[in-house]
């Protein structure tokens, strides 16, 4: 048999099994290792080359089974059935062997070539437990590897086994015996299926079992088959017979119980406790008694949130000043340098006012961004985030949201795009839609530069407080929108909350820095690309028609601004520069500051320019407008992808209107109060 030179391997496993660490160890790419459920990217792919074979690795979402009940499971199942990987490596949290093996049973039934990777062996050893991997391997008919992903132990062996098993394409003959009445019906259905349906590589046994479980996806697939009626009535007859024979009203549950019965026995056979493990409350549980306490939970959460903001501003402040000084110097130096080299005026202007002025004004906030992501990384990695979802559950419930919605909303503080993608863990479509639609009002990191600029210029003493107020406003608007939309569009029951709480871990410096960097990198590449491109575009429009004074009202950009400015007058900033900044902010919120930086590039500092054109009230109104007026293009794209065109359009129209209304209201009311 010819040697395969290319393999596709799928990585499956429960959430929190260390699957992502294995993925990183195998492929060497840096990916986010979420310590709590709710961070899902649809498919992470990587590759490595070993022993002359190119292996492509696909990281499936963390799943507990292969039913049709959750989007993650459907995605995983779809890939396994249609993506036809050459091998599936299941990463197992060995401290929780029985439960993790449930997924393995489902995979065995799917009849895919399988390898088991028992991970977290260090924690097992610490608990004084040993696993008989040989017996496990023999019973299930699959190769078993042991690893400690966090220390990169066992990875070499894993690679060897992957290469070897990938060549063999061997499917385990293991079949779980469901007991006589069930097995009989399965066999009967198999015969019917084999003669009536083009199986297309599906296992007939697996299909028969799915039909008995009344799996909606399989039923839907069968509708296209000509012999559908015959099959469905055979299934009906089978289930009726089984229901009476098993005295159980739910065949699916009966099968689940049978699986666990088997797993119980298997676990007893392969697990050996070397030393007696006492039943004492472990540290995580003790912490949870405090953190999840009915009265302490929310206050603790608020304190942590407030602490995070303090960290971002008191630590960030001096660093921001440093970066600011650097960029002013850089702007002057490069302009002088360009002129000295004989470059024409316009090149010097492009470099100093356009590129450096524009990008610099955004990068100046890098310290704040880094600290924000650092804080999020610490909260995630320590395991606190999952608890926060619980603490907020009752509150979320009152707002018509699911406790699990909390995690995508928290992610929104970093960036709305992955936050919207994270809504995939919500099982109910309506829960998902609602969480997606309110997400843009959660103030993302791209808006932070706007706040820091204006708050720094007008509310220097109370910077932290002012910015905090904007974040709170965003949350309030999100909540209000949730209540409103729920009443308008979705009158329904909230899906109940169940979530796994991973043990608390002291985050390793290494991993939080990686996570902080991963996310900040997105911010930087955005600065490098979209913002740079936009800034150059702005500079161009500001310098044309030829000969016009840079960024003056007579330039093209001034023309655009003057067109839009009247709309903004009631909100206190009806001048063209503000209009232009907001207009380009649609591309990326950071661009608002970048555009202002470019337009006022000629002046001493942006802050001074702002101070002379805005007032405290119009500044606050402007910040409110930036917070709400429209999701950035990337977010609109994400909404469209996850929810469809109509919802994306509604989202845009709604936020434009709301943003304008709020900004105007705030400004006008403040004016009235001043007059009084």
């Amino acid at each position: 048999m010819a040697m395969r030179k290319k393999l596709t391997v799928a990585l499956a496993g429960n959430p929190n099994s260390g699957k992502t660490s294995i993925f990183n160890a195998l492929t060497g790419t840096r990916q986010h290792v979420g310590n709590w459920p709710g961070v899902t990217v649809e498919k992470k792919e990587g590759h490595f080359t070993y022993a002359g074979v190119e292996v492509s690795v696909v990281d499936l979402p963390g799943i507990y089974g292969l039913t049709s009940y959750s989007l993650d499971e459907r995605i995983a199942r779809d890939f396994l059935l249609h993506g036809k990987p050459d091998l599936v490596v299941t990463v197992i949290d060995t401290t929780n062997l029985e439960r993790n093996l449930y997924l393995v049973l489902q995979l065995l039934e799917l009849e895919v070539p399988l390898v088991l990777d028992l991970n977290m062996m260090d924690e097992i050893a610490r608990k004084g437990i040993e696993v008989d991997t040989v017996m496990l391997s023999q019973t299930l008919g699959v190769p078993v590897v042991t690893t400690v992903a966090s220390q990169e132990e066992g990875i070499e062996t894993l690679r060897d086994v992957i290469i070897e098993s990938g060549q063999r394409n061997f499917v385990s003959p293991f079949k779980l015996n469901y007991g006589p009445p069930v097995e009989e019906e399965i066999a009967r259905l198999q015969t019917i299926l084999e003669r009536s349906v083009a199986l297309e590589g599906y296992s007939s046994r697996w299909m028969a079992i799915k039909l008995l479980e009344r799996d909606p996806e399989i039923q839907r697939r069968l509708k296209k088959c000509p012999k559908q009626e015959e099959i469905m009535s055979a299934v009906m007859a089978a289930t009726t017979r089984l229901e009476s024979q098993l005295a159980h009203s739910d065949i699916e549950m009966a099968l689940v119980e049978r699986r666990y019965g088997f797993l119980n026995g298997l676990a007893k056979a392969v697990i050996r406790r070397k030393s007696r493990v006492e039943e004492r409350l472990d540290i995580s549980e003790r912490i949870d008694r405090v953190v999840l306490n009915k009265y302490l939970g929310i206050p603790i959460f608020l304190v942590l949130l407030w602490g995070t903001f303090q960290l971002i501003f008191t630590l960030g402040g001096p660093l921001v000043d440093l970066v600011d000084t650097f960029f002013s110097w850089l702007g002057k130096a490069s302009s002088e340098g360009a002129l000295a080299l004989g470059a024409p005026e316009w090149v010097a202007s492009l470099v100093a006012d356009g590129i450096i002025g524009g990008i610099g004004s955004v990068l100046v906030f890098l310290p704040n961004i880094l600290l924000l992501f650092l804080a999020i990384a610490i909260l995630e990695d320590s395991g606190y985030m999952a608890r926060a979802a619980f603490v907020m559950d009752r509150l979320m419930h009152a707002l018509g949201l699911h406790g699990k919605s909390f995690i995508p909303l928290i992610l929104g503080f970093g960036c709305n795009v992955p936050a919207i993608m994270a809504t995939r863990t919500l099982n109910s479509e309506k829960d998902r839609l609602l969480t997606i639609l309110i997400n843009p009002f959660i103030s993302c990191s791209a808006r932070l530069p706007i706040y820091v600029l204006f708050a720094g210029a007008f509310f220097a003493q109370a910077q932290g407080l002012v910015v905090f107020s904007l974040y709170v406003l965003g949350i309030v608007v999100a909540i209000g929108t949730a209540l409103l939309f729920r009443r308008l569009f979705f009158a329904y029951e909230i899906a109940p909350l169940v979530m796994e709480l991973p043990p608390y871990r002291l985050p390793s410096l290494h991993s939080i820095l990686i996570h902080m960097w991963e996310r900040s990198r997105l911010f930087l590449t955005k600065a490098g690309t979209i913002i740079a491109a936009t800034v150059i575009l702005v500079w161009t429009l500001a310098s044309l028609p030829l000969g016009v004074e840079y960024a003056s009202e007579a330039s093209l950009i001034g023309g655009l601004g003057r067109l839009l400015a009247p709309l903004l007058a009631p909100a206190g900033f009806g001048f063209w520069q503000a209009a232009v900044a907001l207009f380009f902010g649609i591309l990326a919120k950071e661009v608002v500051v970048g555009t202002l930086g470019t337009l006022y590039g000629g002046e001493e500092t942006l802050t001074a320019a702002i101070q002379s054109t805005f007032t405290p009230t119009s500044a606050y109104a402007f910040m409110v407008m930036s917070l709400i007026y429209i999701p950035c293009i990337a977010t609109i794209g994400a909404i469209r992808r996850e929810a469809g065109w109509r919802w994306a359009l509604l989202s845009v129209a709604y936020s434009l209107t709301l943003g304008w209304l709020l900004a105007v209201l705030i400004f006008q009311i403040a004016q009235l109060l001043q007059l009084a």
């Binding site: 549950m253 689940v256 999840l292 619980f390 796994e500």
Partner: protein, 74 residues
């Protein structure tokens, strides 16, 4: 037999019956809460309920805890 929501913090219980829709019952089972399984109630003080068993911890909303019938284990 009584609903899980009435169990006291620290108590060990065995799951007897899962009520609710099929999706919910299957999901709970997949996560390890299936009839016959023994777990400890780590926390139940009126808020969400935390269950634990050497290895993992699971949090449940109260509504869900109402749907799970358990019996105490000595």
């Amino acid at each position: 037999m009584f609903p899980l929501s009435l169990a006291t913090s620290g108590q060990w219980v065995q799951i007897c019956e899962l009520r609710g829709g099929r999706g919910l019952r299957v999901k709970l089972s997949q996560m390890g809460l299936y009839p016959g399984q023994v777990v400890q109630v780590v926390l139940n003080d009126g808020g969400p309920i935390i269950l634990g068993r050497d290895g993992f911890q699971l949090g449940l909303g109260r509504g869900m805890a109402h749907q799970i019938l358990v019996k105490p284990i000595a």
